[in-house]
Amino acid sequence: MTQAELLAFQETLVFTLSEPDRSARAGISRTDLMGISPGMVDLLASLALGKRIEKVTKILRKTCAYLQSDLEELAAPFAARHPPIRPDSFYNACQFYSFLRHRWRVHFPNPSFLPDLAYCELAMIAVERGIRSERLSRLRLGSDELLKIRRHPAAHFHRCEYNIQKLLDGTDPDGSTVPREPVCLILSQPLSETVPKVFQINDQLFALLRSWHAWSVHSSQDLLQEGPQCEFWQKLERLGFIEVVPCV
């Protein structure tokens, strides 16, 4: 067996085990798989898919709890549409979210706030992975530095159709009182916290902050004039909504 033949065999085996549908594997013979029986192929494919769903469940904990008995039925179509590309849990959870969004175009989500919940669960992990630093709070008043400001890349801005804040922060863990009430949420990790938090803010501030994709340059003298304006900027930074770096 040459290296090329070995790779070709490994590709056949991995692609076969990624296919949960038996009929999709019908054209593959035992010879192609160096003697592995169809029953063993089924077992290995099932073990691999089971581990993948476990990874997804660890990230989309509450969403998968609501999906419950449907989760087993969804596993095979999910794998068929989104084959395994990367091993990390977050990537697989993103794939599963994408799969659910596609599905919900045809099959109405039950409960109806699942799309908002799934997005926010995924966003919380993304927020946790973001890098935070403190700048404004450390500057002296009267400092004449030039600063760049933008919305924090690790913060997630989401307009929810349902007010799921209590579901996310644990005050209503079983979602018994989730009203259909549009809210603007920012998911961020405040500088003083070790876990992400969910903040509900008004429409105008949400729109303003969300529009700050690009850096804008400000004088620290403008930002740090003593009074409410200074406190406002420092609060936005402390909450993890904005990122501030010195101009170089």
Binding site: M1, Q3, E5, L7, M34, L44, K51, P84, P87, E128
Partner: protein, 277 residues
């Protein structure tokens, strides 16, 4: 700050799992060593990374990975190797280990350990890949034997000959997973003790033990049960001729029952003492 391994020789510890951080920290004095999965650090959140760094400052650690896929017949991902090297430096791990298996091919990562066909050509691929690993990770490197639920039809070598060929030609050492030896011996009908006897002295750098479950007639490497007595007997037998640097209990599931994990640690330490007597 730790300086050296503690009382038990060889040191006994667990594979650290982020979901069991609080329980691990609370019971840290029960362990002599922790095994850190480098992939947890590489793809982990800030919180997980900080916890790993904190633990590595309190107790000796060894490194272990699942993302390398050394058995794939293409060169390993050199960016990933650099990430691994960096993590090993950060946690001050004296050596690293990976599975003698493949999990992926270009474009698809099954994240499931698959056995490598035991041919000379496949061994040469692994040896070549290990040369690349050595350029990026200048630390002792051990290969772990895995569970396999089937045999390929075209195998040329026995499992022990395959392992020894690769280790001899590459300089890699062996992380001997005794649960996997027990499961493979049970599933494929061979003598586990003779398997252990086949390895030269000082080849075994580390040991893994775990508990599996039965699926019909097949024993699965599920890492969710106490270590079976048969694996403990293999450990006592192994320690007659090998002096591994660490003995690590692998537990991936049912970690909320941490008392069971601690009980296993006690059983492992008792086995080490019995072997020394």
């Amino acid at each position: 700050m730790h300086q050296s391994y503690k009382s038990c020789s060889p040191p006994v510890g667990i594979g650290f799992r982020p979901e069991a951080y609080e329980a691990t920290l609370k019971n840290l004095e029960r362990f002599d060593v922790l095994e850190i999965m480098v992939d947890h650090y590489i793809s982990g959140t800030h919180k997980i990374r900080e916890r790993i760094l904190d633990l590595s400052s309190r107790i000796p650690v060894v490194g272990h990975g699942v993302g390398l896929s050394i058995g794939t017949a293409v060169p390993p991902d050199e960016f990933y190797l650099d990430q691994v090297a960096e993590v090993l430096e950060l946690i001050r791990a004296p050596w690293h280990s990976e599975h003698l298996a493949f999990t992926k091919v270009p474009g698809r990562d099954l994240a499931q350990l698959l056995p490598i066909p035991r041919t000379v050509a496949a061994a040469e691929c692994v040896i070549h890949n290990l040369e690349i690993v050595r350029k990026h990770i200048p630390k002792p490197f051990a290969l772990e034997n895995i569970t396999y639920y089937f045999e390929y039809s075209d195998c040329e070598l026995s499992e022990q000959d395959f392992i020894q060929l690769i280790c001899r030609e590459s300089g890699a050492l062996l992380l001997l997973d005794l649960e996997n030896v027990y499961l493979n011996a049970t599933n494929h009908g061979y003598d586990a003790f003779a398997f252990i006897d086949s390895f030269p002295k000082s080849l075994v750098k580390g040991v893994h033990v775990a508990g599996g479950t039965a699926l019909g007639a097949l024993m699965l490497d599920s890492h969710d049960r106490p270590v079976p007595n048969q694996a403990l007997e293999l450990l006592k037998y192994l320690l007659r001729t090998q002096t591994p640097d660490s003995i690590v209990l692998e537990r991936d599931e049912r970690l909320d029952d941490f008392d069971e994990v601690l009980e296993d640690i006690g059983r492992l330490k008792a086995a080490v003492s019995a072997a020394a007597a």
